[in-house]
Amino acid sequence: MQKITRDILVEKAVSLLENGTVCCVLGWKKGEFDYDVTPALFESKEEIEKDFVYDDFCGANFSKYLVKKTIKAEGKILVFLKPCDTYSFNQLLTEHRFDREKVYAIGIPCEGMADINKIRAIAGDGISEIKCGEKIVVDTIYGDKHEIDAKDVLLERCINCKSKKHVNYDELLGDEGEVIESNRFDEVARLEAMTPDERFAFWQNELSRCIRCNACRDVCPACTCEKCVFDNPKSGVENKAPANEFEEKMFHIIRAFHVAGRCTDCGECSRVCPQHIPLHLLNRKFIKDIDSFYGEYQAGAEVGSRAPLVNYTTNDLEPSEVFEGRGE
């Protein structure tokens, strides 16, 4: 299988830019450190050749950026989509959030992205440089050098990858993959099996760390509202400084409920959380419930599908039956 490298993507991007197919390129750019790669819009060959990055830290899902960028762009935008990104891409198309005609989507295969926290756990603090290649090579300011196998430091979402298949693209680089039988609901099931008190302790511990920075919302490709309820004083749930850990539940339930049935389980929320709260466990709870109550549904698998919360059947499960057969 062809390994996707920076050079291949740069060459592709430059050629499409130069032949006029696209007017700009949505890609990744190095941040302050090697590992905080950020999304960026490139408009010239020079910019691309200078700053374009593709390595094990390119987790960012570009779909969301298309909402704002396509409205302004004069021509087409080139975007590189990993398999998981294509689901968000489709979901946004379903919701008419951008014009498909204004995008040139290139599907790229993905073997999983690295979790910097796992690297830190191995290499310690003070990382000065990281090189991604066969192995991830980490230098620290203390002069240590670590060689880490990328497979050992995958992001949680990549360990539980649900699909290597691209569900939407104009052009595909490399080989097409398959939808994978993942174990992504195991952790949710483990929590469900806990006693209520254990589970309460678990969530209290996790959610009490929330600093309401809104990173999870800002990165979420399903959260593209023109005005978010958390920014709207009339919604009754507007942003407030966190006063105690109870209130954070409200925020996170509402956040997860708002994207229920629309969340593609891309895992960006957990990736960006500075407090390392496993937010995907909330979203996955909804996905798991939806699958078991109303039949399997993968948001974004196809454009135009009817999300479970804007659908019904006359013999749906009653709310009182939710807990039946779950003992206790």
Partner: protein, 144 residues
Amino acid sequence: MQVKEYKPLIVAFCCNWCSYAGADLAGNNRLNYPADVKIIRVPCSCRVNPMFVLRAFQRGADGVILCGCHPGDCHYTSGNYYTRRRMALLFSMLDYLCIERERTRVEWVSAAEGAKFAATMNDFAEKVAALGENKRLEDLRCKK
């Protein structure tokens, strides 16, 4: 210090066409239920945003119950079907976050079921009272 007797606070959202009328019928028939139950009238159970439920808990409600027309009888043909899905998922999530499942309920009460309305409220209030105060999803700042 004098301990104030614990009275549960219950918010009931009732749809205008069936359940609110059912509650009126309970009144017509003088069927008692606890005064802890306070009814809010909505046009249809599908008007109830999960945020309202959470808001009630945040402000110190001990239980929240939604009442609507029986499935198939919705005045607006399909509203309660959506309610059913939304609340099934919300309640499951609340349980996941360990808000006791007895604090939430959806009940279908028709305009003719005054007795069912009263019985439901008695039962719900009793179950909520047994749980004690809602501490797990209450914003302490909101209570003076």
